[in-house]
């Protein structure tokens, strides 16, 4: 029996105004991220996957089904690709209410043999759209528009979700409110996703694998924490700052802080975080900026910072403007990136294999979900 084809098999060359976007990738991540600064051709790439462009060359196959093969003249029309495309500016259909927008792709969903009512109920409950259904789209706020655009895509029975900068049009406070919806959608619908963004945080929180493009070329590929700590990429991502995104389970709720066990195995590593609002046993995502943590080579005492994790330096590298140290937290904890200066590395005589303590304050931990 032959192995099943990869979800994505892409080898594209897209002429853009200033350069060509060349991207080759084959793999089966549950959600694929594409990272790059503005103008690196990310949106164009998504439009190619959605079948909305005409002048691209190469091959695109999704789950073994050819969507584009310029040598054989294959170009499957957008309407037959079954994608749910969520544009950066949402592109809700004006002068209509939310319900009518959500129903725009109903016909295809029915053609795909799905039960519209069931999907519709599911979507409005996960995205909390119930109260908005009869509202005209012109009267929605940015975050609401984003949820409706996402809901409209999901209500069309897609096989692949394409998200273009899902959080970019929102302000910072709202971003952290929308991110959980995206994570819920990823976990509840189990549809492969492609997310493009210039913000590392959302890719770290959402994606299993991230591609990095710069001026049309693929310059990095790997799991989010590998990619974003790599030299060159870190510089591109620096504006948003590198965030260590950790998955954990709430162990204990105290008055103003919670204790969260981090690491997938439910090991003994736990951290103090600001109150999550979740109950004991719930999964949470939190992040710590790489610049907010410090390293110590001795066990610290008498610190106000509540979190001190023992670890081993796994890698130290120069990312251009600063030195990044990748530390593997002991006892099954995750790897974390800590930003250092060259002076600190020299004074502490840090090297690969050094035993260190990572220290950060409770309030340096941001709760994402």
């Amino acid at each position: 029996m032959s192995a099943s084809p990869p979800i994505f098999d892409i080898d594209l060359k897209i002429p853009l105004q200033e350069f060509n976007l060349e991207l080759a990738y084959s793999g089966s991540p549950r959600s694929l991220g594409l990272f790059g600064v503005s103008g690196s051709g990310k949106t164009t790439f998504l439009e190619c996957l959605a079948g909305l462009r005409r002048r691209e060359f190469g091959q695109v196959a999704f789950e073994g089904e050819p969507w584009l093969d310029s040598t054989k003249g294959i170009r499957i029309k957008s309407r037959y690709r079954n994608v749910g495309y969520v544009a950066q500016d949402h592109l809700l259909f004006p002068r209509r209410d939310v319900r009518s927008n959500l129903e725009a792709g109903k016909k295809r969903l029915l053609e795909n043999g799905l039960n519209f009512e069931e999907v519709f109920r599911n979507v409005i409950s996960i995205l909390e759209l119930e109260t908005l259904l009869d509202r005209k789209v012109e009267l929605l706020s940015g975050g609401e528009r984003q949820r409706v655009a996402l809901g409209r895509a999901l209500c069309s029975g897609p096989r692949l979700l394409l998200l273009d900068e899902p959080l970019a049009s929102l302000d910072t406070g709202l971003r952290l409110r929308i991110l959980p919806y995206l994570m819920k959608v990823r976990d509840a619908f189990r549809i492969p996703m492609v997310v493009v963004s210039h913000n590392p945080l959302e890719l770290q929180a959402l994606c299993d694998e991230v591609l990095v493009v710069s001026r049309g070329r693929l310059i990095g590929k790997g799991s989010p924490d590998e990619v974003f700590s790599a030299a060159g990429v870190f510089e591109l991502a620096k504006d948003g700052g590198f965030e260590n995104v950790l998955t954990g389970t709430v162990l204990e709720c105290n008055n103003r802080t919670d204790t969260v066990s981090i690491g997938e195995t439910g090991g003994s590593v736990s951290i103090r975080v600001p109150t999550t609002g979740e109950e004991v046993g719930q999964r949470v995502f939190c992040s710590i900026a790489s610049g907010d943590a410090i390293l110590s080579v001795q066990e610290p005492a008498g610190l106000s910072a509540r979190n001190c994790l023992q670890g081993k330096v796994e890698a130290i590298f120069d990312s251009g403007s600063s030195i990044l140290s990748r530390v593997e937290v002991l006892e099954g904890g995750p790897a974390m990136i800590v930003e250092l200066t060259q002076d600190a590395v020299d004074d502490l005589k840090l090297a690969i294999g050094s035993d260190v303590y990572i220290i950060f304050k409770t309030n340096s931990v941001r709760i994402l979900v």
Binding site: S78, R79, R81, G84, Y85, L91, F93, P94, K107, R108
Partner: protein, 208 residues
């Protein structure tokens, strides 16, 4: 107006959305009646429908029976109103964000469904303006009509030709009455279309 609605919309949408060889030629042809003297258009139509013309009895083998009838009035007015209708309708389609149509396609809509459920409703105000302006243009049509339909009272006489007849007869009262009708209807139409165009400009999806 009914005669030019379908071809007019088709040409306007084609000009607004598609790139094709001869687009400028089509655009120029659709605009031509706007700049030609109406009598020239009338004379051209007369030649086309004359006994030995392109659509005359000898060529087709039967008589289309247009000349000097009510149909000729409609035909002449349609030809003369076509440019302004197409141009206004094209502007209406230009205002509709093409990416909204793309979005419709990704949601599984076919070309027709995208057109009828997205493009047309979003351009509707501009299309109403196009109909009104086209109507107003036909109301003012004189030259082409007189040549192919004549000026037969009760049969092929239009507002424009009636004013001309009244003035020629020296019937100032009738001419003045007709003038007021023309003024009021004309003003109402232009005023309405201005309002519609203003509101049309404010829809069509958010732009970056």
């Amino acid at each position: 107006m009914g005669c030019i609605f379908v071809p007019g919309i088709a040409v306007a949408y084609l000009l607004s959305r598609k790139e094709f060889v001869g687009k400028h030629v089509l655009s120029a042809l659709a605009t031509l009646p706007l700049v030609l003297p109406p009598t020239a258009v009338g004379y051209l139509l007369l030649k086309v429908f004359a006994e030995r013309g392109l659509l005359g009895r000898e060529t087709l083998g039967f008589d289309v029976g247009i000349l000097l009838t009510g149909k000729a009035v409609i035909f002449a007015c349609s030809v003369m109103a076509f440019p302004i209708f197409v141009r206004t309708a094209k502007l209406a389609f230009d205002e509709v964000e093409p990416r909204l149509e793309d979005m419709g396609k990704t949601l599984g809509m076919g070309g027709c469904r995208v057109f009828f459920s997205l493009s047309m409703p979003l351009a509707s105000r501009g299309l109403v303006a196009a109909i009104l302006l086209g109507f107003a243009r036909s109301m003012g049509e004189f030259g082409a009509t007189v040549i192919i339909a004549g000026n037969i009272p009760g049969k092929t006489q239009t507002l424009a030709s009636a004013i001309f007849t009244a003035q020629q007869r020296g019937d100032d009262d009738s001419a003045a009455t007709l003038l007021w009708v023309a003024l009021i209807v004309g003003f109402a139409i232009v005023y309405t279309t201005e309002r519609l165009s203003m509101r049309q400009a404010s829809v069509g999806g958010s732009r970056k």
